[in-house]
């Protein structure tokens, strides 16, 4: 940590954890997390624990009680649309506030950005990505594609090897977050035990409940200056219960898509009333009919299907 105090306290001195906590603005970060991310109980708990550990570590430094820098490499597993990427984006900012990383930027990569196409191409490519991520967070989405067991000449293994080396030697410089679907990630870790042991935090993102999804929908609408009418809210709640039973339900992502379609219908509805003047409220409000026009209600099928 960069801002460690230079003066060493006496053994009999005491330090004020509360004061340090208030000075670090961590509560503000945690509050923001609570406000803007619905649900995700295990995720928030783990972030709180990490925050506490880093804070206590800072206090211990005042007594010159040194301990190794904690590893903060993480693995996010969960179904589609459970907020893995969103949390990763926040992670950079949180870790910067906690003084664990210096810059706090997020570099998002997939297999394409790490693995090369011919011999000798992979190592420079991976290293370039790692150099860009230094001082921040390297987010590897769908990390299991790095390892392809069916092809033993695949260059993915080389990328994993370089990653492992950097994760071990440059712990102070960057935090690596792997993300992917649960069962595929489990398989990936089984075949790469070195990777599993170097990642201290395995966080599982649970599926959302219907009421959580509704709260998410409202947040999404508010950020785009839209809102539900009272009937529309009831209709959307009904839509969610029906949609959750259908196949390919991807949590918050499905909600976002449903809202985008509702916006389309709203625009079409407003367009249909030619000649009439529109108020600001009308431009902002999604009505029940915009939701109820969905095929989920009429035919019990997904809207995406053709």
């Amino acid at each position: 940590m960069s801002d460690s105090p230079s003066k060493i306290a006496n053994d009999t001195d005491t330090v004020d954890l509360q004061a340090e906590f208030e000075a670090s603005n961590i509560q503000e970060v945690l509050d923001k997390l609570d406000r803007e991310l619905i649900g995700l109980k295990p995720v928030k708990t783990r972030i709180r624990e990490i925050a506490a550990l880093l804070l206590v570590d800072r206090l211990r430094k005042q007594f010159a009680l040194s301990s190794a820098t904690p590893t903060l490499h993480m693995s996010f597993t969960g179904n589609p649309g459970t907020g893995k990427t969103t949390v990763a984006m926040r992670m950079g900012e949180i870790l910067k506030r906690l003084g664990y990383v210096r810059e706090g930027h997020l570099v998002t990569v997939t297999r394409d950005d790490l693995v090369g196409q011919y011999i000798g191409h992979t190592a420079p490519k991976t290293k370039e990505v790692i150099k860009k991520a230094m001082g921040g967070v390297l987010f590897i989405d769908e990390a299991y594609y790095l390892y392809k067991p069916e092809n033993e000449r695949d260059y993915g293994a080389e990328a994993i090897e370089i990653l492992l080396q950097i994760m071990e030697n440059n712990r102070d410089d960057l935090v690596v977050i792997l993300a992917g679907y649960k069962n595929k990630m489990d398989l990936f870790f089984q075949s790469n035990p070195g990777m599993r042991s170097r990642i201290a935090h395995h966080i599982d993102f649970p599926d959302y409940q219907a009421d959580e999804l509704l709260a998410i929908a409202k947040l999404m609408l508010a950020s785009q200056n839209y809102r539900f009418s009272a009937e529309a809210e009831a209709a959307f709640k009904q839509y969610l219960t029906l949609r959750m039973k259908l196949e390919h339900f991807s949590n918050a992502r499905s909600v976002r898509n449903a809202l985008d379609r509702a916006r389309l219908r709203q625009a079409n509805r407003l367009f249909g009333r030619k000649g009439k003047l529109l108020s600001k409220t009308e431009l902002m409000t999604l009505e029940a009919e915009d939701i109820l026009a969905s095929r989920v209600f009429k035919e019990g099928r997904r809207d995406e299907q053709v």
């Binding site: 210096r102 810059e103 930027h105 420079p124 370039e128 790692i130 150099k131 860009k132 230094m134 001082g135 921040g136 440059n170 102070d172 410089d173 960057l174």
Partner: protein, 144 residues
């Protein structure tokens, strides 16, 4: 050259100072990155002042946020060429070309033989002067 004890090469910034420490190098790189300059690492064993273009060690590094990545590359270069001159250059692209804004040595050979003055007689009694690095008498990669 009595003005330069120990024949230390004086090219680029800070070259009259003692060698920069890693912390000082990091601070300089941080300044370059703050100005959105791309940084690259170059090496040579022909330190003649007119030898402008040194060999690049890897590609120039664009879009970096933190000096740690560049320091990693400097240390790689030092490991590969422990007895070469290594310099770090920062390039500014605001004028449409990548023009060097900073350039300083981060590694030098253990023994620097320095430069000799060469006199060439031309046109009657005229003399032309040039300098010549003693190291370059030997073939490439055997110089230091």
């Amino acid at each position: 050259m009595m003005t330069n004890h120990g024949n230390r090469l004086t090219q680029g910034q800070f070259s009259f100072l003692p060698d920069l420490t890693d912390a000082q190098i990091t601070a300089q790189i941080k300044y370059a990155l703050k100005n959105n300059w791309a940084v690259n690492v170059e090496y040579t064993d022909d330190p003649h002042p007119r030898n402008t273009y040194w060999e690049m060690f890897g590609m120039p590094m664009f879009d970096l946020k933190d000096p740690a990545g560049i320091l990693l590359e400097i240390n790689n270069c030092r490991k590969t060429f422990p007895n070469h001159y290594i310099r770090v250059t920062a390039f500014d692209s605001t004028r449409g070309v990548e023009s060097p804004r900073m350039s300083y040595l981060v590694n030098r050979p253990k023994k620097e033989p320095g430069f000799g003055l060469v006199r060439q007689e031309v046109d009657g009694r005229s003399i032309r002067y040039t300098i010549h690095s003693y190291a370059t008498d030997k073939p490439e990669s055997e110089r230091y």
